[in-house]
């Protein structure tokens, strides 16, 4: 594990934590059904189970903001649920030093018929705040949410933005030493999200607090967290620097690469989205010299998708997305864009980029197949392949790249403007 505060001072210590869920029989059913089942199979118990967490060990020290990332079903939420005592571990233990408060999904514990004022007290109580504690911070909460004019209006009349702001404001004023935040920043406008992130920064830096943050928003994780943990199938596969965690997370999505630039998609299990059969077989990333894992800005590149067993290749379209390290789609293309006359349906299709318009960095390719007529998805693979755009003096100007440069490469066509009317733009060179 990575360097951390000495364990006696840690706010949260997770030791050998495992959690098993029963797949069947654990869900709500009917008593009558259960009785009938018991009568029919008096001895058979429902045994099928899976491990949502397996031997998880973690520490979160005071002042730390731990980001937990992982695919859906990796166990992130289960871990938070065990920490916040909503569900019991199957084995192992969690030791907490300090009160734990959770930032809830927006509106949990809000009642639409109650006024803003009443909901602040109700929600505060649900989050574990005492009444004097809420009273003391009441003005600050209302001020933070910016809803003072509507304090005595039932929240059912609030806009969704106001609702979110009030809910967050209450939780942000929790005075617990440990704060758990599960994917709540997905809602609300950008302005308020920034305010929330800022508030969380100050929450964490206030003496000795620990924050555990789960999000699919990689930007938020990168900006906010001092450490990152990656969960995969209930296990910790990375614990360390946030940036490394983000890299590790994107690597998890990757498929087996048999040679640089060649990604075999055949031995997929059922964890990817697809309808019935698997058709996507292989993905190849090439430059002018053949398959490669590294491309260069402004140079030719090609992406080839190989399919197998397509029943009617003519009726199928292929598309792909390119995503950057922050999980943002930077560009996409689709065989249907080539028009109905272009004969690009089939078992193997290639997309040519004459000049790769991407800046240095890591990129991921999602591919998908669909029916032209119905637009139904036949098969799709997220992060089927990946490539690196190598660091390169693409501008020929000895320029140092900033993170804010984005992902798209544009030729730097700058010219000197004049105070007088500007002449029409003419490309320099040709």
């Amino acid at each position: 594990m990575s360097s951390k505060a000495p364990s006696s001072e840690a706010r949260i210590q997770v030791r050998g934590l495992s959690k098993r869920y029963e797949v069947e029989g654990e869900r709500a059913g009917l008593l009558s059904e259960a009785i009938v089942r018991r009568l029919r199979h008096p001895l058979r118990g429902q045994k099928e189970s899976f491990w949502a967490l397996q031997d998880v060990n973690l520490e979160v020290g005071p002042g730390e903001v731990l980001g937990i990332i992982g695919k859906n079903g990796a166990g992130k939420s289960t871990l938070l649920k065990v920490m916040s005592r909503i569900t019991e571990p199957t084995s192992g233990e969690v030791e907490l030093r300090g009160r734990l408060g959770s930032l809830l999904e927006v509106g949990t514990g809000f009642h639409p018929e109650l006024t803003g004022r009443e909901n602040v007290f109700l929600n505060g109580a649900i989050l574990g705040m005492r009444k004097p504690e809420i009273q003391r911070q009441f003005d600050e909460i209302v001020d933070f949410a910016g809803i003072d004019r509507f304090l005595d209006t039932p929240v059912k009349r609030y806009s969704s933005g106001m609702y979110v702001r009030l809910a967050f404001a209450v939780a942000a004023h929790l005075s617990s030493e440990i704060l758990v935040v599960d994917e709540v920043l997905a809602v609300g406008d950008i302005e308020f999200q920034k305010k929330c992130l800022g508030k969380m920064h100050s929450v964490a830096s206030r003496a000795g607090r620990a924050v555990v943050f789960v999000s699919h928003n990689m930007n938020a994780v990168r900006d906010l967290c001092t450490r990152g943990v990656v969960l995969d199938s209930g296990r910790v596969v990375h614990d360390g620097e946030t940036v490394d965690a983000l890299h590790c997370y994107v690597d998890l999505h990757q498929h087996r690469s048999t040679a640089p630039g060649v990604f075999v998609l055949e031995d997929r299990t059922n964890n990817d989205d697809h309808e019935g059969r698997l058709y996507l077989a292989k993905l190849v990333v090439e430059d002018a010299d053949g398959p490669t894992a590294t491309l260069r800005t402004g140079r030719p590149a090609a992406i080839t998708v190989h399919c197998e067993g397509l029943p009617k290749p003519d009726e199928v379209f292929t598309r792909f997305h390119l995503r950057n390290e922050l999980n943002e789609i930077v560009l996409a293309s689709d065989t249907r864009m080539a028009g109905p006359d272009a004969e690009v349906s089939g078992q193997v299709v290639t997309f040519d980029l004459e000049q790769l318009p991407l800046l240095p960095g890591r990129y991921f390719i999602d591919v998908g197949l669909g029916m032209k007529k119905t637009r139904a998805v036949l098969d799709q693979v997220a992060s089927a392949g990946t490539f690196e755009v190598s660091r390169d003096d693409q501008y020929g100007a000895d320029y140092q790249q900033y993170p804010q440069d984005g992902s798209i490469y544009l030729a730097p066509r700058w010219r000197q403007g004049t105070a007088a009317a500007t002449p029409p733009v003419t490309p320099r060179g040709g």
């Binding site: 300090g98 574990g128 030493e177």
Partner: protein, 286 residues
Amino acid sequence: MTVSEEVARPERGQVFHLVIRPTGGWRSLDLREVWRYRGLLGAMTRRDITLRYRQTALGVGWVVLQPLLAAGILSFVFGQIARFESDGVPYVVFAYTGVIGYNAFSSTLTFMSTCLVTNAALVSKVYFPRIILPLAQIGSKLVDFAVALVLYLVLNLAFGVGFHLSMLTLPVWMALAYGMALGLGLLTSAANVSYRDVGYIVPVVLPLLLYLAPVAYGIEEVPTNLRAVYRLNPLVGMINGFRWCLLGRGSLELGSTVYAIVFTVLIIVGGTLYFRAHERRFADVI
């Protein structure tokens, strides 16, 4: 819920220290934990009372109307058609004193049995002692009871029933009504998490109990050879007690009263144990 050890470390003053471990078997009620969350119990109770009495003018009206209507119909059927005895008071008042006790029990139990499922979002998102939810149902039902009691005083004065020392025993009968409702409410609410039909069974069974208890008629109307079986219903002692207490006439049956008290204690203990044993699975199943 999942607390197996909780120590306030003296050297650090107020620092909250908690170890979460798997627990097993039957667990007793952690009263200290419930006490720590008394603020939440208060807030939930206030929420229910506010919602019930603010939303509609009819909301309050309904609280008054419902027992009055029930008593009216019962007195029509049993007093006018069947012509049962009513201890020398107008049949409406006689029936009303039964309805008051029956309602205290049945309306509380009805809301308790579904309270975990209606608050599923909270149960699966936030920690608090789950027993807070059924307990929070009692407050607003007590307010309903108070309203019904005021109405009884009006009836009492209007029909000249008079006031008696027996009225001082009211807390005993209330404790029985709410205690039985709580014990059964803990059982049914926990069962309802796993088996959703429990929530439908309760409102079907409750009205049947209305006729199997001395709500609309006195125990004297029950044939003597059936009384032993009849008294197996623990509601008999409780409702008979309410009537004796409010009317100041009739007889207080010692046997059925003691039986009701024993039943109440046992069902609270049993309900609590069942609730606590199943509590740890609520969030996974709900």
